[in-house]
């Protein structure tokens, strides 16, 4: 079978990462890059002359016969670029978050309804071994009926006003929530479905117009309740640290980046009564090439498989649009001193 020809739009940190992975995997080749920076474009021409480099992504889409395109540009550009890819019939991979708002994201959902191509949004935490294991444990039903969840996500990142597009609300859509926290919100929807109502409070101490501290209370459509507390302005967390505690009638699940702990009232699904602890070395699964973490490779393998099979994975653009409805409701509630807001009321119909 011929290699899938891949184009990357935006050859910054994440664009290079995906470029390295797709080029390193069997069955796909980095064919073209669209990158407006002269330095990056010229460096690529020197070091990798077999890749065609464009300063304008529209040129690339027009001239190259691509099987898939990866969009790894600042957030506010994602949707227009995604629509262009879809209109060219090119499978579309979009870095997270999908968009600045749900109604903006809706435009890409609509474009996909007019012309369906395989599509995916890069919620890479779904591909981390511990959080994957937690998903399978939740699906197995060993916890009985899930009642309540607690999420914390902290990183020592920002202790003065940040510079660049990520800290400009018009370009990024927000601060902490659009950064690391969007992953936690994606996991909340992956694990527990859609939220019926949220109440949220935020504190913008360092950033001014975007949030540095966030607290959200959830009422899910399933009746499960929960809360999330997050900040990128707390000390003592060299890397992003995430923890979910899930309480059910038959047991408790605790999952972090390093460990999965399950307490069960009775033996179930091969797990004994009491505590079972699984650590990262036990859960490790090798990948054909690891650049910056196996989760990125697993994400790419899933996307490329979907491209070949002409379908989209669970974490597709439509699912990401729903995460953005949740995010919009969180912002609206925080702006209204924690008044309950309904995600379904945001970001268009359906």
């Amino acid at each position: 079978m011929a290699d899938l020809r891949i184009g990357i739009i935006g050859f910054g940190k994440m664009g290079m990462l995906h470029g390295g992975i797709v080029n390193g995997l069997e069955g796909s080749t980095l064919a073209a890059v669209a990158e407006p920076s002269d330095l990056v474009a010229r460096a690529l021409k020197t070091l990798k002359p077999d890749v065609r480099v464009y300063s304008d992504y529209r040129e690339m889409l027009k001239k190259e016969d691509l099987d898939a395109a990866y969009i790894a540009t600042p957030v506010f550009q994602h949707v227009d670029m995604g629509i262009a890819c879809v209109e060219h019939g090119v499978s579309t991979f979009v870095e997270k978050p999908l968009s600045t708002t749900a109604s903006e994201a809706r435009r890409l959902v609509d474009a996909l309804e007019r012309r369906s191509v395989p599509n995916m949004v890069a919620w890479m935490m779904r591909y981390l071994p511990t959080f994957r294991r937690a998903k399978s444990l939740l699906e197995s039903g060993v916890l009985g009926k899930v009642i309540q969840f607690q999420v914390t996500m902290y990183v020592s990142q920002l202790f003065r006003k940040g510079k660049g597009w990520r800290y400009d609300k018009k370009k990024s859509g927000g601060g902490l929530i659009m950064g690391p926290c969007s992953h936690a919100l994606d996991l909340v929807t992956w694990y527990f479905g859609e939220a019926a109502f949220v109440n949220a409070r935020q504190n913008n101490f360092y950033s001014g117009e975007t949030e540095d501290f966030l607290h959200v209370i959830f009422e899910m459509k399933s009746g499960v309740t929960g809360w999330l507390d997050s900040s990128w302005s707390v000390r003592g967390h060299r890397l992003v640290e995430t923890r979910f505690d899930v309480h059910g009638t038959d047991g408790t699940l605790i999952v972090t980046d390093d460990i999965v702990k399950v307490f069960l009232e009775k033996e179930a699904a091969g797990l004994s009564r009491g505590w079972t602890i699984e650590r990262i070395p036990e859960l490790f699964e090798g990948v054909p090439i690891d650049i910056g973490g196996g989760q990125y490779t697993r994400e790419n393998i899933e996307f490329l498989r979907c491209v070949r099979e002409g379908r989209s994975p669970e974490n597709n653009v439509r699912a990401a649009w729903k995460v953005h409805r949740l995010i919009d409701a969180i912002y609206a509630s925080a702006a209204d001193r924690g008044a309950p807001k309904e995600p379904d009321a945001f970001g268009g119909e359906r």
Binding site: G20, T256, D258, G286, I289
Partner: protein, 303 residues
Amino acid sequence: MKHETTRPPLDPIILGHNPFFGVDHLSHEKGAARDQKFSDIRNVTAMIRFARERGVDALMLSTHPRARPICDALRAEPGISDGLRLYPVLPYIAKYVRMANEKGLTNVVLDSLSGAGIGTKLGTILKGGAGVLGRDLMKMIETLIDLEMAVFTSLDLRAVFLHQALTDLCLGLGLRGIFEFYEEYIPRRYNGAAAAYCTYNLPYLLRRLHEWGIERPVIMASFNKAGYQMNPDRPSNERALKEGGLSFVAMGTLASGYLRPAEAYEYLFRFPNVDSIVVGVSTEAHAEETFAVIRREREARGA
């Protein structure tokens, strides 16, 4: 490679930097506790002295912000640094990721270079054709390396490792030119120190480097009985090591503390071609035990 014959041997045990920098791949919490302990540089130098008294004369050090005070302390205390061989790892990737998040990767590069006084030339470089850039691109990379390496001035360097994030990115992109450049530049610029690579893709990297004519590269990769951080899987890594054609530094031998030292090193020394082991130690008792077990298992296996 032409410098292969003159390349000095690697130290059999290298003290790792992770505990000093609060890095713990198994537990963020443990990492944070160590970070607090070793934020006092005297605790770092005490550990280096303790290791040296037990015959471990090598230290791995990434260009983490804490490398500067550690190197300053080493230079100030010849009693610890004389005869100590350093194995730098560059760059300290977390710093660049954080900077790239703020201003984008291109600006990180441009700002670093302008700090070194060559930024003003960049306008001219960018106006030139790809051929002009090709030459100057390598100059820029040299400058970026030298900037990272400045912290190690006057210390004895044995091998200079490229961080796995860059090694593996260049591997994935197939940037043969970068590897050829690095092999040539490091020993020439740093007094015969070996060009070396940290990777999470040992079999893949070794195969490509051999294809590209780099015959006996120095590679550091995870190697442990748990198969942790061994891509694509443990058997492929074991085969690659048995086939040889490299100088090998084993890291992650305890799978981030998941394995007990005795079982870990009993496994490791079943394999030939393990030239060196990098070990992170956070307490004297831990160091004592680890060094003793490594030596015992190495002798028992005649490795």
